[in-house]
């Protein structure tokens, strides 16, 4: 038996020496690619070039070239499309704030109390799993196609993440800290301010960030379904193949989505550091 092991090790040793000889020095291309931006620029650049070429080849009814898109943005501005978008966003924000006002306290309640968790989580979890899109036709019947309807749809979509994340944040607050605070007879208010809030804050912001993403989705879905507001612009531009206009609007929506996501992520990071320092205090 010992022989087979020794033979196996010999084979291994040969492989290792072979690999050691095969290690090459990095080429210039390799070094160029090694920075964080090296590969990024190449890939993104290639994508943009590919886009431009496809647009030029296939014509404006397939895709707008980059200059056409920029012109489209200028046109959209001139035609007041962005004020329509702004108006839609305003209504979305109302719905979003409403959902937060309901969701965050509810989440805190679920996080604090096992009983409430058991009673309420089934609904929240079902809401996450079910198709909210399937509820849209029902919402039209219930709320019409105006402001109420838009707000209702946004609440429907944006509600889930703030609840679950707030609950997680409240649950996460270190039991040891709570115990210590109680030993020092901390008042309810101080407990909330100095222990629960900093501990749960990063989670709550995460919930808001994800909820905002869903709110954006909600308002777009609502408006596309009944063809009003920004949704109408998108649908019409799409069906008339006015793709420069379409992308002028879509790109701005995308930018808003990405911008708010990154901004809130940065806030989250700051709060998480703060919470960590707080926990060691």
């Amino acid at each position: 038996m010992a022989n087979s092991l020794a033979k196996a090790k010999e084979k291994q040793q040969v492989q290792i020496t072979k690999k050691a000889h095969e290690r090459k020095a990095p080429s210039t291309l390799g070094r160029l690619l090694s920075g964080k931006w090296g590969l990024r620029l190449i890939v993104y650049g290639a994508l943009l070039v590919g886009w431009q070429v496809t647009a030029m080849v296939k014509g404006p009814f397939f895709a707008p070239t980059i200059p056409e898109t920029l012109a489209g943005i200028a046109d959209a501005w001139a035609n007041g499309y962005y004020s329509i978008l702004f108006d839609s966003l305003r209504q979305m924000i109302v719905g979003f704030l409403l959902s937060l006002v309901i969701a965050i306290p509810l989440g805190a309640l679920i996080g604090r109390s096992r009983v409430m968790d058991d009673l309420l989580s089934p609904y929240v979890n079902t809401l996450f799993v079910t198709s909210k899109e399937a509820l849209i036709p029902l919402f039209v019947i219930l709320f019409g196609i105006g402001f109420q309807y838009r707000v209702a749809v946004v609440v429907l979509f944006a509600f889930f993440f703030p609840v679950m994340n707030t609950a997680a944040g409240v649950r996460f607050v270190d039991q040891h800290l709570i115990e210590t605070a109680r030993a020092f007879c901390t008042s309810r208010w101080r407990m909330f301010k100095a222990i629960y809030l900093p501990g749960a804050a990063p989670f709550i912001v995460a919930g808001i960030r994800l909820g905002l993403g869903m709110a954006l989705k909600g308002f777009v879905i609502a408006e596309i379904w009944v063809i009003t507001g920004t949704g109408r612009l998108l649908v019409e531009a799409g069906s008339l193949r006015l793709l420069d206009t379409y992308f002028a609007i879509a790109l701005v929506i995308a930018a808003i989505g990405i911008g708010t996501n990154e901004g809130l992520k940065a806030l989250e990071r700051r709060l998480r550091q703060h919470a960590h320092l707080g926990n060691e205090g």
Binding site: K9, Q12, T17
Partner: protein
């Protein structure tokens, strides 16, 4: 079969955000085959790094390590490594964990199984072969780690503070078990620890290192006979040796000629 270890002019530095960290400074160490050598030193003195260089996990900046007649260029199954954090694969049973090195050697399934079972019996865990690591205590997990390293029948055994993560009582029992296993074939062992008593109890040679950058301050030949018994711990001579090593550690870092000191 076991081999000796030659370390010559070993030097190691790491790049970090705050600059270059010089961890090992011109290490020279010659270990005869079959010796049990412990390396003691303060935290951060580079002893764990040195062990990894010996195993070929990290390439040195300068100098070389030779095991037998071969220069170390990368990890090899001629050497077995036991980690402080056990590093068992949590999704595998105890038996499958012991088989790990054997798989990489390409040993056939049947033989692998038999060998693994044999070594589990040596560390007295054969009843637990179908348990998962999470179901075992720290001491038992480390015995699995030991079995895994022994199963590949290495020429040299490298152990990085293997008993550092278990409680005192378990540690002392594990030390005795290790010696019992070692007595069978007297492999070359390089054993890193911060525990002076452990080093003295287990080894033939204790190498004392300075704080960073790690240098060898003293090499102390341990005078006690083998096999070592538990009663040795209470021996007054043992305490004296402990004191000697401790004083070397405390005074560490000052320029001193490196030589072998026999006993107190």
């Amino acid at each position: 079969m076991t081999l000796g270890v030659e370390i010559r002019n070993l030097d190691m530095s790491f790049e970090s955000k705050s600059g270059t960290i010089h961890v090992l400074d011109d290490i020279d160490l010659s270990l005869d085959p079959g010796i049990f050598c412990s390396i003691v030193g303060p935290s951060g003195c580079g002893k764990s790094t040195m062990l990894r260089i010996i195993d070929g996990l990290i390439p040195p900046m300068a100098g070389s390590v030779t095991v037998g007649d071969t220069v170390v260029t990368g990890p090899s199954l001629d050497r077995g490594f036991v980690f402080q954090q056990f590093n068992l694969l949590p999704w595998r049973t105890v038996l499958a964990n012991v088989e790990f090195g054997l798989e990489n050697l390409g040993v056939q399934k049947q033989e692998r199984r038999e060998r693994a079972k044999r070594w589990l019996r040596v560390v007295d865990l054969d009843e637990f072969e179908s348990y998962y690591p999470a179901q075992l205590s720290g001491g038992m997990q480390q015995r699995v780690g030991l079995a895994r390293a022994l199963a590949i029948e290495p020429e040299v055994l490298l152990m990085d503070e293997p008993f550092g993560s278990v409680d005192d009582q378990t540690r002392m029992l594990l030390q005795e078990e290790l010696l019992q296993i070692w007595e069978r074939d007297h492999k070359t062992v390089v054993f890193v620890t911060h525990d002076i008593e452990e080093a003295l109890f287990l080894s033939d040679l204790v190498v004392v290192m300075s704080p960073r950058p790690g240098r060898i301050i003293q090499k102390i030949a341990v005078p006690f006979g083998r096999p070592r018994k538990d009663t040795l711990r209470g021996d007054p001579e043992f305490s004296r040796q402990k004191q000697t090593v401790w004083e070397e550690l405390r005074g560490g870092g000052l320029a001193r000629p490196v030589g072998e000191v026999a006993g107190g």
